[in-house]
Amino acid sequence: MNKINNTIETNWSSKIMKLNPVQSMASLKNFSGIFFIAALFFLAAFIYKLFAIDPVIKHHFNLPISEIDILPLFTTNYFSFISIGIFEIFRLVCIALLFFFLMKFTGSIDLSDPFQNLQSKTFLNKVVACSIGFFIVDAIGTLHLNYVLEEIQPDLKIRLFHFEYLFIVYFLNVFAVIFNRGVDLKNEIDLVI
């Protein structure tokens, strides 16, 4: 019995050890169509709720990322209500773009020769640009949200800078520099006759 248990454990652990994170991430691109349609539905519902004129439709209006109910602003400060909503849409689009390019990047990497594909380099640069854009949009959006929140919920304060995003940006940037240098080196080596 012990032997069987050991064999099962060994099989499972060997399978887990064999799992390749890049390959498993790359396989996600097969489901990207479903993700994309679901995200579109989510975004459409949010935009409809944001611009709906009848306040009865909005029993509560929680922001998708910040999860704060900004419905009281609908009657008191409509401009802030719309602007925060639009910022939240920008943030959603940035996250969607980031995820999209990350999937494209992982899908384009050839594990046997990762520095061969120039397309991967382009996608990685796009991922870095998107993450920097996301950090900036997020900081501006949160700054505005903090300012407006003083009207509706004075005790609630949101962290202005999400440094974890900055950390991801930094990590990706370092990776991009190494990867780009790798691609350039490979090209240079190919041009030595």
Binding site: E188, L191, V192, I193
Partner: protein, 69 residues
């Protein structure tokens, strides 16, 4: 870079085609073409020797340095 590759000139002087040179030097036509068009980043001594042997010339006949303005 200021370095000019005169491989095409020497090939014309010796009346040798790219295919023939490729077979003599044992380098692919694609790589020879890269070298001929000046896109190559570097050239190995062994390649240079093989080309000089095939074209019966000196390295200076193939490579020429011109000061950049």
């Amino acid at each position: 870079m200021g370095l000019i590759i005169n491989l095409d000139v020497m090939m014309a002087k010796r009346k040798i085609s790219l295919n023939e040179l490729s077979a003599k030097v044992d380098i692919t036509i694609a790589n020879l073409s890269v070298l001929k068009t000046g896109k190559a980043k570097a050239i190995r001594f062994s390649t240079l020797v093989a080309i000089c042997l095939a074209l019966d010339c000196q390295p200076g006949d193939i490579l020429e340095y011109k000061k950049e303005q």
